[in-house]
Assembly symmetry: C2
Homo-oligomer: 128 residues x 2
Amino acid sequence: MTETTTTWTIAQMADDYDVTHRALRHYEHLGLLAPDREGQRRIYHRRERTRLALILRGRRLGFSLEEIATILDMYDDQPGEVGQLRYLLSQIGDRRQDLERRRRDIEDSLRELDELEQRCAEDVARLS
Amino acid sequence: MTETTTTWTIAQMADDYDVTHRALRHYEHLGLLAPDREGQRRIYHRRERTRLALILRGRRLGFSLEEIATILDMYDDQPGEVGQLRYLLSQIGDRRQDLERRRRDIEDSLRELDELEQRCAEDVARLS
DNA sequence: CTTGACCTTGGCGTCAACGTCAAGCAGGAT
DNA sequence: ATCCTGCTTGACGTTGACGCCAAGGTCAAG
């Protein structure tokens, strides 16, 4: 339980998260990641790993990298001003609505899939 | 309650579903839609409307049009052979796994959003 | 000192999903 | 007859998200 590798290289990142190093550079180019440098080389800390995890989850959900950027920004800032906080809260509301819509879509899809499977299974039973 | 417009023009489709007619032609080009013709003009029936609804839901969920095509095919075929049915059942399984993964992602996201909102609300309370 | 592994920065290529003209037909209104 | 509206088929342009080189730096091993 000692602190061993608290940092990672680009190859380790690519390997751990199953992305190409081209993709990592691309995310960095768009400001989604900002690894340190050790000389030339990129050095990734835990922050980048959690960010990358969020990016990939966002991609799986079909968000564009631009949308993902704003989401990451949401989690980044710890604004001191009440105005900023209120704005953030409204953003959170928007995002929640979006996600809930997607969830409804998914649940509808799953229900329809169930029906199809049912009919399918019946047909197999009848024919076998 | 009479049968009035059981068919639709491309403009009505575009209007009802809030897509461009270019998109409709694109979906047709990819074989996702197959409207009738009346002379030159495209004529859409209810079948195309349900298909379009599925397409758009698929897009909202981040599926590619190619994936959507295979999904539509799933619902299209009513295969007579047991082999085909078994294959369809396996496809249904795959799709369900995919959807359930997405649902987990969404629920994780919603939970994190809740936490963020909580902290945010606390900060606002403290500052006001 | 050279090789090889791993990294770097450009920068052009590609694919999907359309957008955006251009040019033209078809039919009703003026 | 011509005009307008709504549609048609190309066909090239665009944007996002990378793929895929090319050309070279760095550092430990042989």
